[in-house]
């Protein structure tokens, strides 16, 4: 955890940045940095000040997960980017399944649903969205074939484990069928499921599945199969403040330290406790310390309202939890790219609304200025 620990800047002790964690409630949850909230203080939007205070720091990175800190933004911004990562960053997923033959015990619609959930390792940025009225083209559709039959192996010894071929239909059995220019575009990285070991169906000798699968681009708000993340979440940075007026009794120091996550509280040989700021982010905020009357008033638990610790984990959907194998290729986005994609989507949304607002400003009586009643009833001639 060496690189994910850091000394805290002194500004974190500003009480205005604190969310109080109490025995049965949390306090000071809402931000107060608005103009007019504090007399004689200017809290209006100041880009230069924002830029100075903003701190982004990537902490940990693996093939499938990323952890980073975003400090100095409001929860509304942090939450918008988190929501976008889950629901609005596009990916490719199987949407149309054309079944020629399926004699397995698993029903067509169940198998199609499972196929949709298979994560595909293909860069969605190379594809366009396809609306239901669009014809499939090599720019918006990816085609796979699944053609598997189970047979008895004559030569297999009696009772051996692998007496059949293709006992399991796995995600690795999907064959990519290049369309048009796709063969050239994806020559060095052919599209395929990120995990080849997902069991889609089980077969017995004589059973077979034969189908064509069309994958299209989509977003998670339409169906979770298009969500590029398994989880994207944030938590607020914990803060433990010891009360200098009421130190922890030395004979209870170890009991006190055990109330927190390992490494967070240090006890020196004389029994004096201190907080290891480098490991504070590991604190689980269990509030165990608040249960013991002997520690009452010794310590305050807090969180820092504008310090977001993001965690993003990728591609371990329901289907994959049943099989533990190493994933050879990454998902459609590298974990560290995920956040950049969400910002891109956010800016695209802003641009879209701005375009509409500018049109409204230029011609307030045009189509955009249609006045509808507040309860949402729209006159029929508008449609």
């Amino acid at each position: 955890m060496a690189s994910s620990s850091s000394q805290l800047p002194s500004s974190v002790f500003d009480p205005r940045r604190h969310v109080g964690i109490n025995h049965e409630r949390v306090t000071n949850v809402s931000s107060t940095d608005y103009p007019g909230h504090y007399p004689d203080e200017d809290h209006s939007w100041n880009f230069v000040k924002f830029k100075q205070k903003l701190a982004v720091s990537v902490k940990r990175l693996s093939q499938r997960s990323v952890e980073f800190d975003l400090v100095g933004v409001d929860a509304s911004i942090a939450n918008a980017l988190r929501r976008i990562m889950i629901a609005e960053v596009p990916t490719m997923a199987i949407e149309h399944v054309y079944i020629w033959n399926n004699t397995s015990v698993i029903h067509d619609e169940i198998l199609a649903q499972r196929l949709g959930l298979v994560p595909l390792g293909v860069d969605p940025r190379t594809f366009e969205f396809r609306t239901p009225s669009d014809a499939p083209t090599d720019r918006n559709t990816l085609v796979f074939r699944l053609n598997v039959a189970c047979e008895r192996v004559k030569s297999a010894p009696r009772g051996s484990a692998s007496a059949f071929t293709h006992e399991h239909v796995k995600s690795g059995d999907l064959e990519w069928v290049p369309q048009g220019e796709q063969a050239a575009v994806f020559a060095d990285k052919p599209p395929a499921p990120t995990n080849k070991e997902i069991v889609l169906a089980k077969l017995r000798p004589g059973q077979e599945v034969e189908m064509e699968l069309h994958a299209i681009k989509g977003v998670g708000k339409e169906h979770a199969k298009w969500s590029p993340v398994a989880t994207a979440s944030y938590r607020l940075h914990p803060l433990i403040v010891l009360n200098p007026a009421k130190p922890v009794p030395p004979h209870l120091a170890h009991k006190f330290a055990k109330c927190f996550s390992p490494g967070v509280v240090r006890v020196d040989p004389s029994g004096k406790v201190s907080i290891d700021e480098r490991h504070l982010r590991k604190e689980s905020m269990s509030r165990e310390v608040l249960r013991h009357p002997e520690f009452e008033g010794c310590v305050e638990l807090k969180r820092i309202r504008d310090w977001f610790i993001y965690f993003g984990n990728f591609f371990s959907r329901v289907l994959m939890s049943v099989c533990a194998v190493n994933v050879e290729s990454e998902g459609p986005y590298a974990p560290e790219e995920m956040f950049l994609e969400s910002i891109k989507v956010m800016r695209a949304k802003i641009a879209l609304v701005r375009e509409a607002a500018e049109a409204l400003l230029a011609a307030p009586d045009s189509e955009g200025g249609v006045v509808v009643s507040a309860d949402g009833d729209v006159e029929m001639e508008n449609t």
Binding site: S57, K59, V73, A80, F339, V353, R354, A356, V372, A374
Partner: protein, 111 residues
């Protein structure tokens, strides 16, 4: 299905000079609504700003803006949008800088 709904509508009851108006933004949710509300509230000329998602199965948000000094809420909305875009750009640059220079713990994740 052709989507002909305008992106922004001004709901009935707005002041003629738009010093107070409710904007109905189509195809947006809490994602943009709350971020935009926050940025509008950072404007000292905004008397009130709030948004709602009137119904979960209706794909729009209502954003109410009331201004001091009879200023235009539409101008304030545009200003907030451009400030929000600046903010996103700054976060993007800071993230890229961190990725390039910060010491990142790289670890091998077993499934």
């Amino acid at each position: 299905m052709a989507d002909s709904t305008p992106k922004i509508k001004i709901l009935k009851g707005a002041e003629p000079d738009l010093s107070a108006a409710t904007f109905q933004i189509h195809d947006e949710s809490h994602t943009l609504g709350n971020a935009l509300r926050w940025m509008l509230m950072k404007n000292p000329k905004v008397e009130f700003c709030g948004y709602s998602v009137p119904h979960p199965s209706e794909n729009h948000i209502n954003m109410r803006i009331q201004m001091y000094d009879n200023l235009s809420s539409l101008t304030a909305l545009l200003e907030a949008l451009s400030n929000l875009d600046d903010l996103c750009g700054t976060i993007e640059d800071a993230y890229k800088a961190s990725l390039a220079t910060d010491p990142i713990e790289r670890w091998d994740e077993q499934s």
